[in-house]
Subunit: 177 residues, 2 copies
């Protein structure tokens, strides 16, 4: 069955962004030619799920070609109906049902590209199959937490860790069945 | 100069305890003969700083011999004056002044044994020199967070990572000067 994977960077103190969507701490580990396995990871996915706020943020910061490029099915989870743009669907239904439907279809893996609200809703319903978490060597002190309070307990299987000379360490866990 | 070190275990989602001081998830990585470097670490410390709640908790769960054994100087940070017990001092003064005083004296390293309140107060004042964080392969979902909101940003130097066959991974960072 297709897996739903998280591939995300966090500060050591557990924030994926500083206040006001400030991602400047990611620059601490920027290095020419080093993508921390992102290309390899995305080569195995054909579907992206993400929250509407994250979608809008990326559109503003990077441009619509990042998601709306016709290369993958993109599901933007939103409360507001909008017409489909190419392979980008604005999904207003039940998130669990969407994921169960996608997992039952054939295809490559599914990538949850954030943000924290969608990640935590997926964790609430035990829908994430693997977590690839890159820890940036910084305490940012405040911001948007990767993990919000009040989720169910979930045991994980530690698969591997890979450290990089920039000080980033990437941890790979699978859901324990 | 003497270092102040943190040596602590957390769930992947950043909790050092579940609600009601429940530490049962630590059992997930219990293994005969494996102390995850604790003896080696404590061999280089002669002074412990900890919060009063943590002290009381350990007294109740393990007994007074854990701290009040005459082997090390212990500083319990509290608001309530109490007479010294052997080498255990109940310290009601300014935490920063205590740490600066201890660091200026000669001796082995200083170990902050928690809890979250003291750790975060030390981080507020940039007094922790190294962090040794053991990540347990579980999302506990709720509880006491290792890192509270509203601390200053602090860059770290990643030193090393060590993984164990129980799935625990231990990360070692130094403060960047």
């Amino acid at each position: 069955m297709r897996k739903l994977s998280l591939f995300i960077a966090t500060s050591l103190d557990g924030y994926i962004a500083k206040p006001n969507d400030d991602l400047s701490f990611l620059k601490l580990v920027e290095k020419d030619g080093e993508d921390y396995g992102y290309s390899e990871f995305t080569a195995n996915i054909d579907t992206i799920i993400l929250g509407r706020k994250t979608y809008d943020f990326v559109l503003k910061e990077i441009g619509s070609s990042h998601y709306d490029n016709g290369q993958r099915d993109v599901y933007v989870i939103t409360r507001t109906e909008r017409p489909k743009i190419g392979r980008t669907t604005f999904y207003t239904g039940n998130l669990t049902e969407l994921v169960q439907q996608l997992k039952s279809e054939s295809g490559l893996n599914i990538y949850c590209d954030g943000g924290a609200e969608i990640i935590n809703e997926l964790l609430q319903h035990d829908l994430i199959d693997e977590l690839i978490i890159s820890i940036i060597p910084v305490l940012v002190g405040n911001g948007t937490r990767l993990f919000k309070d009040s989720r169910p307990e979930q045991e994980l299987e530690f698969m591997s860790a890979k450290s990089f000379d920039t000080g980033l360490i990437q941890l790979y866990y699978k859901r324990k069945r």
